[in-house]
């Protein structure tokens, strides 16, 4: 379960991120304009990634080839790709919002997995579920510390003006 949720799925999103980065900047900008700017991109990424946090979505991906296909397509295309597009335009407020939201969601989801009274996935055992939960909590704490660290040393600003594009290469 841990490797499914915390290795395979993030890597799928990373594929989207890398793919988007490989596109020429002009193309990225024009796609961003066509899809309506950075807010819709963030929203799509938020909802798509939330869906794959649901236990039954994990089960479906393992049992149903169609759902598996959907996972392999949606994580790169609807999470990684739009995030990179939006990232270039987001200032620290937008990026901070994405990060704080992601961190608290990851921590709470992990916590829910740890204390869940039942086995939430048919395909995994209870102790799988618990260790996945612990990994999530630990990862969220680490990400939070790292993110605060970038603020302390002054990375993570995003573009100065809303209408200019940043490089989109920094994470924070």
């Amino acid at each position: 379960m841990s490797s499914h949720m915390l290795v395979q799925m993030p890597l799928l999103a990373v594929i989207g991120i890398v793919a988007c980065r490989m596109l020429p900047v002009r193309l990225q900008d024009s796609i961003l304009v066509k899809v309506g700017g950075s807010v819709p991109c963030v929203m799509v990424a938020l909802f798509a990634s939330s869906y794959w946090m649901l236990p039954r979505a994990l089960d479906a991906a393992l049992n149903d080839p169609l759902a598996e296909l959907a996972k392999f397509l949606s994580l790169p295309l609807l999470v990684g790709f739009p995030l990179v597009l939006a990232w270039r335009r987001l200032t620290l407020i937008g990026r901070g919002f994405v990060w704080t939201n992601f961190i608290s969601m990851l921590a709470v989801l992990g916590w829910l997995y740890i204390v869940a009274p039942v086995r939430v996935c048919n395909s995994y055992l209870v102790n799988d579920q618990e260790s996945a939960g612990w990994y999530m909590v630990i990862i969220s704490v680490l990400i939070f510390l790292w993110w605060l660290g970038t603020l302390m040393v002054g990375g993570g600003m995003g573009p100065d003006k809303h209408d200019s594009s940043g490089s989109g290469t920094t994470l924070a």
Binding site: L92, I103, S104, L112, V115, L151, M152, G154
Partner: protein, 495 residues
Amino acid sequence: MASYTYTPTPDQGAKAGVLAYLVISAVVLLLMMLFGLLMRMEQAQFISIGGLWFYKLLTLHGAGMVGIVALAGAAVMWHFLGQYVQLTQGIFMANLVLFLTGVVMILGSVLVGDFHAGWTFLFPLPGTSMGLWSQGAAASFMGGLLVIGVGFVLLHLDIARAIIKRYGGLGRGLGWPQLFGPDDGNAPPPAVVASTMVTIVNLIGLVVGASILVMMLVNLYVPTFEIDALLAKGMIYFFGHVFINAVIYMAVIAVYEILPRYTQRPWKSNKVFLASWTASTIMVMFIFPHHLLMDYAFPKWFLIMGHIIGYLNTFPILIVTGYGAMMIVYRSGIRWDMCSRLLFVSLFGWAVGAMPAFIDGTITVNYVMHNTLWVPGHFHTYLILGMVAMVFGFMYYLGKPDENAKDSPIDVAAFWGFVIGTMGFTMSFLYGGKEGAARRYAEHLPNWVPYDRLGSIFAMLLIASVLVFIFRFLGRLGLARRDYQRASLARSMAT
């Protein structure tokens, strides 16, 4: 060694947003004080509103006061910080809208839904009402807190963005290059240092608070998702304590910014100042276990940490600020008006109010004194005579008609009414606590009642004085937006 001289800066009026914050704060503060008075009068057996209303008012008073002083503190911080870095007006207003939305949810939960589990929403009380309030009421209360928290996260992210943009990182905002390297005199001004500290600790506190709130909401509807009650308590107190502490660190910016204008002496961020703020940034996050000293189930090291850090954190900022203010005022021939009086007395209130906490933070004392009225005695002193006095000082400053305007005798009387009323009111708490009166009891034993009665009378004096402050401010709103010199120059300057 850097040399420090005063460079006069133009005196700016408040933006409309800051005034909106202040007006709302003034009105809500007054309302919550009246709720407080009703509770105190109930304990004094002057009136009889019954247990249900006492606890409803206690919940509203706690949540309302903590929220509204945070709002007022944010207004002070935003006003002064905005003179050094470029803040976003839209975010500032979004915070206000989210705040008001949260307030409506909380009011609905308490007044309509009868929720009365206290502002600390301690697990598992909100979910175990035994039929006294509905799940919906509890959810609305916690949801309201969550919405208010989201607003503050946005505000702090904007502040972080602005400080990073101007100074290149939150570490630089705290003046680390000057603290750990040679002091070149270019450290950020106190307003920036304080805002940076508040932003760091509040962002951490709010993320922890949001996590426990969401977990409790899940648990409310699906109780089989069990929460470790001790962990929940730790997280709630971490969040609550950081948040309420941060309030005074926002408001003290008014002292740093305004007092120097009166005496034309600079309040510079020297090494000692920077060191104390950096130390407190860390300590403020580890001090909350002093609320948990009676929870024997916590690991021992955790409680000892609370004891030690509680001792240590009482002093740095307080001493640096108190000493700094003395240096600004000492033999300066400062002219005392309502603003300078309130700001100066606020440091007294802060220092005096910290002492009972210092005493109560000692484990052996805590076993006896905690959960008595001693604790409300502590925080009402530093919040009313410290924090709230800073906010009223700021209001008087904004509304001062001109540099040499004289205060009317009514204002001066109100000032003394405020000081004496607060001292009397808080002493009645402290003394009641010493006599063993438990906190959060709607009904008191007969031998506690005399203190409650005295306390109620002093509270009336305090509220009457606050009414004068508030009406004066509302009457001068028009002036508050203009840019002009407000501080009367000290006698040594105004030749």
